[in-house]
Symmetry: C2
Subunit: 286 residues, 2 copies
């Protein structure tokens, strides 16, 4: 397991942590301000959200690399199933392709997939997972041509209804193996998996080279909002060292990406203070 | 699998569905009013909460049986771990014993355990589960002497922080097997397990005679509150028939107990209407 107690070069920021840089969420920093602040503090990478990028993917990607960092990833494909997905298959495919294209232009090696919820009227998580699998399998070659890894991210089961029918690492690994494409992998996020005592065994089953991302935050014992009340590392109940040990036992040596949605707390603080806290906590408790 | 399309004699009511019969929640019905309304509609059993019973356990139990039904169970032991548990081990043991005694007096064959959350400061779900296991093992003989089955109920992972470090059927079965007492079993609740695609396999691993209760409701796709916005059967995304098939494949032939916490919807309706809807949905979609 890597020792980060005096090294945060593998620390990455997911911009959601600063409120997506958007007006009305967090400080409203531009991508350029985020890049500068992360570079100043010695972070290694940044993951952006599509809404922040617009038509400036190439420019922003170059800016990150020019500042001595890497683009760690891009969030995300459209929802593929459930009530929040685009209205039909063609619209889903079109937007999926647009997200791959943006990842390519940005130089993001990883594009995150949040699957979407249970197919309306189906009452079947199994049927919903099958549809996700079929769509991701169809898009895998498109992503491969763009040098993009698709990262299936299992979400906490609380999102199972409308945001992600994929809610366990077990199902994510099964889906990866069923698709069988090298560039279809999984992302492990502390918020979504901290409760899963089978994590280490499942990741061992997944084998080498199947993890495309590792996301950090904490689960607050008395969380008040399952969308926007994530905790800073160390403030919650997750066993951060154990989780990272399980992730790195697979050979994962990529970024540890901090992704904290926190409307009532961290988004209200000055972004520089948030970044300083992240660096400190990363070294101390992650 | 049992056919309930024309038979609801194995339908039970968990009184939480009517707002616990308490003033300010639901209609404020007394236990006697609940018993009468359930008997009129041909339900087979009722599960009560301790707060409703007070010192009237023997009286209320006799009333249920006098009305031609059974007491299906009692909710519940104290939290055993985490921020909501009593302040020390002796206080936990004392309240655990009081709950066993009440179940005995009521004639409730099953006492539900909601374990409590992660031990404060531990950052360890594993350590928390160990403490739960030790306490339940210590109480199992006391419960056996009172003819009471202790039902470990894994809760949805969203409650993992403060209410239940036990969040998977897998962990519940492991704990049952580790304790190895005939009267330590598990309860399966649709709200808590609907997302778990390993349910049937896990219950098969548990073997015969390990399920002490089956709880019905539904998971609403766009749930607004993870405590008090459970759905009526058929209104959500759970695959109710598949879940019951998995439960009954273990040989379970007990009650199907409806437990719907719904502050903004069902608790606001007349209790008779709620009960009529439960009977109709039970026959149609469960």
């Amino acid at each position: 397991m890597r020792d980060f107690s005096h090294d945060h070069s593998m620390l990455a920021l997911n911009t959601a942590t600063l409120g997506h840089n958007l007006e009305g969420h967090g400080a409203g920093w531009s991508p350029e301000q985020v890049i500068e602040a992360c570079a100043e503090r010695g972070l290694g990478g940044i993951t952006f959200w599509r809404r922040e990028i617009g038509r400036r993917a190439i420019e922003i990607g170059d800016r990150v690399r020019g500042a001595g960092m890497q683009v760690a990833g891009l969030c995300r494909t459209p929802f593929l199933t459930g009530p929040l997905a685009p209205p039909n298959r063609q619209a889903i495919i079109d937007d999926f392709k647009a997200s791959i294209e943006m990842a390519h232009e940005l130089g993001a090696p990883v594009l995150t997939i949040v699957t979407g919820g249970v197919i309306e009227g189906s009452h079947s998580i199994t049927e919903s997972l099958s549809r996700v699998q079929e769509l991701v399998a169809a898009m895998a070659p498109v992503a491969a041509d763009a040098n993009v890894v698709l990262a299936l991210e299992p979400l906490n089961p609380v999102y199972g209804g409308n945001r992600s029918c994929l809610v366990t690492v077990r199902d994510a690994i099964d889906m990866c193996q069923a698709i069988g494409a090298d560039n279809v992998q999984i992302a492990i996020d502390v918020y979504h998996v901290w409760w899963d005592t089978s994590l280490a065994a499942e990741l061992k089953r997944a084998g080498k080279g199947r993890i495309a991302g590792y996301h950090l935050c904490d689960w607050l014992a008395d969380t008040t909002d399952v969308q926007l009340d994530r905790g800073m590392m160390g403030d919650g109940v997750a066993d951060l060292r154990q989780i990272r040990a399980a992730v790195e036992a697979t050979g994962y040596d990529g970024y540890c990406e901090v992704e904290i949605f926190s409307a009532a707390n961290w988004w209200k603080r000055p972004p520089g203070e948030v970044l300083d806290t992240i660096v400190e906590r990363f070294r101390a408790v992650c």
